[in-house]
Assembly symmetry: none
Homo-oligomer: 229 residues x 2
DNA sequence: ATTAATTTTAACAAAATATTTATATTTTAA
DNA sequence: TTAAAATATAAATATTTTGTTAAAATTAAT
């Protein structure tokens, strides 16, 4: 929810590029397309992709070599690569060369297949990148990421996802003040536009759920909100 | 169910290799064939097989010796070996030598026999690897791994395999929320591509079967599902 | 090779949540 | 103290997510 996953599509056929772009953008990914490996290479320093979709046969540096290049770099080694090819035997070669334990699709491929493979790979890397959240406790209030709940004096109160995210952010940095824009950006992503008052409503709902501890959330007029005594 | 079981087939007759490969791949195993023990040995480091099918008579290292080699290694000792031989008396020798308490088949062998023996051995190792599941009980609901059944107030309700796996995971970690992706990964494996709403249907079916206890499965909107009061 | 069982998908209804709008209340600053 | 600015609240609306059903696809069993 925070930031979009970035995907590079490297294929010299413009229409393949577009089919993939449209479908993946539709799924909420940020897609950059390139017609050659050289072109993509230049952008690697600017944008760090979460996944690369790579055609095997291309002019200049072909898919095999580009992948080898990636896998020999510490920075890029762990980016999953999905190979594309029109011919099965080309893919055999990829598999045989053991260019990295990623994935392979033959053209023409189904859109559904594409989407689900992309999703599966991103799911996998998300897992290995330790982004677990830990329980945070303040006095008699504790926020539990395992079940998105709030324990107040021993009683459990359910939070919605957004409420949880906001409160988590607050409690993670108590005594820090967050502007409404801060909050919107980190909860929804930078390209999401909602009216400021929306945050007020979430804050209000959180305070209700905090019951007698509602004043732990402080309003800083003209600035924003924060969590503290 | 998570990943394919890997089987090595070591036999110098190419057609035997193929018959076995086709039939076992058909059963969902990942099969690697080798024409000699030496060849197989090289691959042991790359691929750790769950089971080995081994011809007794071969040029170079024969089946007896290869098996002895395996059994003398801590790493490979526990891989079950199924011996193949054209002659019964050769197998007698294997048994006599006590090369490990595995299994023996004479050529020609029936496909059905092969499959069931393979399955039996894999089942056995799976068990000894401490993956046994124990009965879990919560209030008047208990989940029995022996027969994938659910006992509710004394009545038995049959679960399908997937239903069982999901509920087992839930009850093993009550009060934890699992995302749909979490569930797919642990039930089906990371390389399986299904639409995540599939889980909703399983949840619904589980709730139906839970009858009056259906509300033990909670929905956490935007997050996932979990088991709790 | 059929049949049956299970799993998956797709479509739409229902529910939950998020956002906006409108208005009341509080805070700020001159 | 008072007008302007900012926030709180409640109610209305929009959006997202989930529940449910039925049909299609896959898998297992006969």
């Amino acid at each position: 929810m925070k930031t979009k996953k970035k995907i590079f599509v490297i294929d010299d056929e413009a229409d393949i590029q577009e089919i993939i772009r449209i479908n993946l953008e539709n799924e909420g990914y940020e897609v950059s397309t390139f017609s050659s490996a050289e072109e993509a290479e230049k952008y690697l320093e600017k944008i760090f992709p979460d996944l690369i979709i790579l055609d095997v046969m291309m002019d200049g540096i072909d898919g095999y070599d580009f992948c080898k290049l990636l896998k020999s770099s510490n920075d890029y080694r762990n980016i999953p690569v999905i190979f594309l090819s029109a011919k099965t035997d080309e893919l055999d070669k990829v598999v045989g060369l053991e260019l990295g334990g990623d994935d392979y699709m033959t053209k023409p491929f189904g859109i559904k297949e594409l989407k689900s493979r992309v999703k599966a790979h991103l799911r996998r890397t998300a897992k290995s990148a330790g982004n677990e959240k830990n329980e945070i406790t303040y006095k008699e209030v504790s926020l539990n990421p395992e079940n998105y709940s709030l324990k107040i004096d021993g009683d459990y109160v359910a939070l919605t996802k957004t409420e949880f995210e906001i409160l988590y952010m607050f409690m993670k940095h108590p005594s820090k003040i967050f502007s409404r824009d801060n909050i919107i950006d980190s909860i929804k992503g930078e390209d999401v536009f909602v009216v400021d008052r929306t945050i007020d409503v979430h804050i209000m709902n959180l305070r209700k759920k905090l019951g007698k501890y509602k004043n732990l959330i402080k309003t800083f007029s003209g600035v924003g909100y924060g969590f503290r005594e």
